[in-house]
């Protein structure tokens, strides 16, 4: 061994090649690096085995360097003593990495000895435990977060698209509807009744005893502002469009099957089971508009 003069004592550590045989009969030796060359160094003259001593590993098979606080020696190639492997295989290259920081015992008499791994054992098991749980928990947390975002996005595709939403709002100018007048506008393909009610009509709508109604609902529940009644002009019976300012109750009358609605759009007579539906709407006072949708 061509080590420096200050070299630490270096003891090669030997392990036997673990050879096993595949079902096909081909022998394999897992874990062996076969990079290294055999001892027999020739001189490039092509005359067979070189002059290197066969009983000493050549200098290139190991290297010692000062790493950090101690010497490290990496030895890719070590001998298998002939008494272990038999004479014929004494030049078989075997790779083991040996460094002085791992407290490998001195050459063991038994090739099956297990190294002392105790220095891998943690000194702080509670830290390790908390860290492992933390990592597992973090994975769950990130995964749950990603899954939530994905599901949200999928659900968002069920919502109305932007072009539908753009058509979904209709603006009605309040100043264009005089008192006691109906206006019918188209909204999402359906007629919407907008009535500018008079004081008398409001009084009438609010004087009804809702206990007598088929679909009990107060007028206050049906309007946002008493003078503006906004509702879908679709008869709740079979979907006809009722006629305004007619019927027995001064409201709407459906010509198809004779349902009568009062001035609050509530079903009072005939086959209609429910009051006329109220769509979502809002007031824009700055521009004097009702925004339906």
């Amino acid at each position: 061994m061509a080590l420096p003069a200050r070299a630490i004592s270096f003891k090669p550590y030997n392990l036997a090649v673990t050879t096993r045989t595949l079902p096909s009969g081909v022998p394999i030796a897992p874990g062996i690096s076969l990079y290294a060359k055999g001892y027999g160094v020739d001189h490039g003259h092509g005359h067979g085995h070189g002059a290197a001593r066969s009983d000493v590993p050549p200098s290139w098979t190991s290297g010692v360097r000062l790493g950090g606080s101690n010497f490290e020696s990496k030895t890719p190639l070590l001998t298998i003593p002939p008494f272990l492997m038999g004479e014929s295989s004494c030049t078989a290259p075997v790779s083991r990495s040996v460094h002085t920081s791992s407290q490998v015992p001195a050459p063991s008499p038994s090739p099956y000895a297990v190294p002392d791994w105790s220095h891998y054992k943690t000194e702080n098991p509670s830290m390790n435990r908390a860290f492992s749980y933390f990592m597992v928990g973090s994975m769950g947390l990130l995964g749950a977060s990603a899954a939530k975002a994905t599901i949200t996005d999928f659900l968002a595709t069920m919502a109305a698209s932007a072009d539908v939403l753009a058509l979904a709002k209709v603006e009605v100018s309040m100043s264009a509807i005089p008192l006691a007048k109906n206006v019918i506008i188209k909204w999402r393909g359906k007629p919407v009744f907008v009535r500018h009610r008079t004081e008398d009509e409001i009084k009438e709508a609010r004087s009804v005893n809702i206990k007598t109604l088929r679909d009990p609902q107060t007028d206050e529940d049906r309007v946002k502002r008493p003078e503006w009644l906004v509702m879908l002009g679709v008869c709740t019976h079979l979907g006809c469009v009722p006629i305004g300012e007619s019927g027995d109750y001064g409201g709407w009358f459906c010509p198809c099957h004779g349902s009568h609605y009062d001035i609050s759009g509530r079903a009072r007579k005939g086959p209609a089971p429910l009051n006329l539906e109220v769509p979502p709407y809002d007031f824009n006072d700055a521009e004097e508009k009702i925004i339906i949708g």
Binding site: V26, Y35, G46, H49, P93, M135, S138, A146, A166
Partner: protein, 334 residues
């Protein structure tokens, strides 16, 4: 020599032998290499007679190799390209058009959004220049809201355009001012009218033009700014214009962008290239309105997914380490 060669091949083949199958291969190739080495040793040990013998033995394959190499060389000489490579093109470079330079767009980077001031200026250029001939069918007025204009501005712009709507109660169609939900008005009612107004050439719809043209932004920018006089020997028909970036060189659209053509309200000097850059940015937005949020979500997804990958690798090791490093002990009964 034998030992060195064989052990080197051992190393080379064993390097790839991570699976058992790989190791089998390694072992086999070792044997083969060993045989070869001994063969070559034997050859060199004898004289050159064996070399000559191998030449005459391999005369047929050597001849075929020479013939094929020669025909490939001849073909290459005749047609200027190596055969078997898919380069069959009947076009001359002029017919393919000049390759556009890559320009550093403000939105080129993977984290870069559009420059929305540029989109706003580009819309102005489109409206004042391009919209005379080119439609923008897939963009509605509402798309501009929150991108380059406020809702009030867009409502006002849309209101200046008359749209046909209806039918009303009497069954008649009627004209009404535009709303946010209306799409950009088109300059020609149909393709025939567009062709008739442009000497037979159809001005393409610009909604997806950046995606639809090879080279994208760079191509459109180069086209808009690339008008030059035709070089000597190139004949351009009456009514056509020469543009080296346009495949074929002759384009029906004349150069339209000249310095100072529009006046930007924000004071940006309206040079030809500035206008071209702005309108290309606008058209790129029109082709990819989702661009900004796409890149932002992509960034977020990359962060989350790479973190998840790293953690799941750790967890995999954590779960498998005791399984892989366990030691099974058998204590034989005494």
């Amino acid at each position: 020599m034998f030992s060195r060669l064989s052990s080197r091949s051992l190393g080379a083949s064993a390097r790839y032998g991570s699976s058992p199958a790989g190791r089998v291969v390694a072992v086999r190739s070792v044997q083969l290499d060993a045989e070869k080495t001994s063969l070559s040793q034997a050859r060199f040990a004898s004289s050159k007679a064996s070399t000559r013998a191998s030449l005459s033995n391999n005369a047929l394959p050597i001849t075929f190799a020479l013939i094929s190499a020669g025909s490939i060389a001849w073909y290459t000489h005749l047609y200027g390209s190596i055969p078997f490579l898919p380069e069959a093109s009947a076009n001359t470079p002029a017919e393919d058009g000049l390759h556009p330079t890559h320009y550093p767009w403000s939105h080129s980077g993977i984290l870069d959004t559009f420059d929305h001031s540029s989109i706003r200026r580009g819309y102005q250029v489109y409206r004042e220049v391009c919209a005379a001939c080119h439609s923008l069918d897939r963009i509605a007025w509402r798309n501009l809201v929150g991108v380059s204009h406020t809702a009030d501005e867009v409502k006002e712009m849309a209101g200046e355009v008359e749209y046909e709507d209806g039918p009303d109660d009497a069954g008649e169609m009627f004209q009404r001012p535009g709303k946010l939900s209306d799409y950009m008005p088109r300059p020609y009612p149909n393709e025939e009218a567009a062709r008739a107004g442009n000497a037979g050439a159809l001005p393409p719809d610009l909604s997806l033009i950046i995606k639809a043209r090879h080279g994208g932004c760079d191509y459109v920018f180069s086209l808009l700014t690339g008008y030059v006089d035709p070089p000597a020997g190139v004949e351009i028909r009456e009514g056509m214009n020469y543009n080296p970036y346009f495949p074929g060189g002759a384009i029906s659209m004349a150069r339209l962008l000249f310095d100072g053509l529009v006046e930007y309200p924000d004071g940006t000097p309206a040079t030809t290239s500035q206008m071209a850059k702005d309108v290309v940015t606008f058209l790129n937005w029109a082709a990819e309105p989702e661009h900004d949020s796409r890149k932002r979500i992509g960034m977020q997804a990359c962060i989350i997914l790479s973190a998840l990958t790293a953690i799941s690798l750790y967890v995999k090791r954590f779960k498998w380490a005791p399984i892989k490093s366990r030691k099974l002990l058998y204590t034989p009964p005494k």
